[in-house]
């Protein structure tokens, strides 16, 4: 058994030169997202240039994992064999889109930990939880969310 929110077997993330600092940060319990050194715009997902001022001077910057639920979805129908048993047993899983007010209100996507049938309120405060997949090859980490 493991403590992962979703059962193993989905495609596992692999870093690219563009987002490598982000994935390395998660391994170290740190959330690093892009911020423009020129105009201070926060940016997510990762891009090669700043969408605001087009500078390439983007720095992966640490930010607290304090967020607000911007939207969510409760998924019932399995579209991948890895989730067949989980959905058969639990019925559903929850995905949240979380705004980070301390990072320019960029949005991060993850799962909402806890009962998959819990009520989810847009605007609810959540905090990040690092989910380390040590047994994966190579090991990687995800960022999940739980209600505050």
């Amino acid at each position: 058994m493991n403590n992962y929110y979703l059962n193993p077997g989905l495609p596992q993330p692999v870093a690219t030169p563009l987002d490598e600092p982000y994935w390395t940060g998660l391994r170290n319990n740190q959330l690093l997202v892009q911020r423009c050194e020129q105009c201070n715009t926060w940016q997510w997902g990762p891009e090669w240039i700043c969408h605001q001022c087009h500078s390439s001077d983007l720095i992966f910057t640490a930010t607290p994992t304090q967020g607000i639920v911007y939207s969510y979805e409760r998924v019932w129908h399995p579209v991948h064999p890895a989730l067949l048993d989980q959905l058969k047993n639990n019925g559903a899983y929850l995905v949240v889109l979380v705004e980070l007010p301390q990072a320019g209100s960029i949005r991060m996507l993850g799962n909402l930990l806890g009962d998959p049938h819990q009520q989810v309120d847009i605007g609810a405060r959540v905090e990040g939880v690092y989910e380390h997949h040590e047994d994966a090859e190579p090991a990687y980490s995800l960022l999940q969310w739980q209600l505050k």
Binding site: P13, D19, S71, W76, H77, H80, M108, L109, G110
Partner: protein, 299 residues
């Protein structure tokens, strides 16, 4: 459609065939998740969290829109019921002979909230094609001509921003396009006799209809009722062939064919004297497109 019409207008082409053919049985289902061991790039930030099918990619836009404007589930249901209603008159429809009522919709399983099974397009094989020529040449052809009054394609600011970071998130992506379409076609929403609106999911239709100016966002619960969408009596007959939900999912090209049938008077759910016929394509993705067809009387 816009590209085809522009190519003919510019003299680059005499005839353009627009087609779509699907053989998902042999070549893979769109609604299935990626089967591989690793994922890199934008999808690495969504797929490991179980967001990998189109329904899962779009549901959160619709949840946010319904939250912002107080839209009830019954609004989505009305869209589905209209499509299934019209399919019962259309012998070509996959769901011909398989009607849907409110109870069956409510009792159907969730795919991903807020989409029930009947909020999602079909998965089927098939093919559809349209032939576009100049208005002059069309006069020599055996069928009644149907004219492209306006056709647009595009999107809004940073609509393609990755990992669900598009600034205007709860949108079908038509806000900047719809005014250009009406300007080009020289018509207003009130002039539209019949509408085909692409249902990848009913929530896309909800936002498309709002963003094309048929209904204020705060009035959705009153506007999105089945009776309003039924041909020929509704104020806005919608998806009159059964559409992507109940006729055939041909990535929207079937909706364009139906829009032309309405102008020609050949629909199985014909709107009497339809002169202005509109198609909205591919909501919530980017870029999107929409088109207005007219009869000769509209020229």
């Amino acid at each position: 459609m816009a590209n085809a019409a522009a190519a003919i207008h510019a003299g680059i082409a005499d005839t353009v065939v627009v087609f779509r053919a699907l053989a998902q049985g042999q070549f893979g289902r769109f609604g299935q998740g990626l089967r591989r061991n690793t994922i890199a790039g934008d999808f690495a930030h969504t797929i490991p969290y179980g967001v990998m099918s189109p329904a899962q990619m779009f549901a959160m836009k619709v949840v946010r829109f319904m939250h912002d404007h107080g839209v009830a589930q019954a609004a989505l249901r009305a869209i589905s019921l209209a499509s299934y209603h019209h399919a019962q008159a259309n012998p070509r429809a996959v769901m011909y002979g398989r009607p849907l009522d409110e109870q069956s919709y409510d009792d159907s399983r969730w795919i991903v909230e807020p989409f029930h099974l009947y909020d999602c397009c079909l998965e089927n094989d098939g093919a559809a094609a349209m032939i576009l020529v100049s208005a002059q040449r069309a006069k020599d052809m055996p069928n009644k001509p149907c004219y492209v009054l306006g056709a647009v394609a595009g999107s809004q600011y940073r609509a393609g921003a990755s990992v669900h970071n598009t600034p205007d998130y709860a949108s079908s992506s038509f806000k900047t396009l719809a005014p250009r379409l009406y300007d080009m076609a020289h018509v207003q929403p009130k002039d539209i006799d019949v509408l085909q609106s692409y249902e990848n999911f009913t929530g896309g239709v909800l936002m498309s209809i709002v963003e094309h100016g048929f209904c204020e966002p705060e009035a959705c619960n009153e506007f999105f009722v089945k009776e309003n969408f039924i041909s020929p009596t509704g104020d806005l007959p919608l998806n009159t062939s059964g559409g992507n939900l109940a006729e055939c999912y041909m990535h929207g090209l079937g909706l364009n064919l139906e829009a032309v049938r309405q102008i020609r008077g050949e629909s199985t759910s014909q709107v009497k004297g339809a002169d202005v016929s509109m198609v909205i394509s591919g909501p919530m993705v980017t870029p999107v497109s929409s088109c207005i067809f007219g009869s000769e009387a509209t020229l």
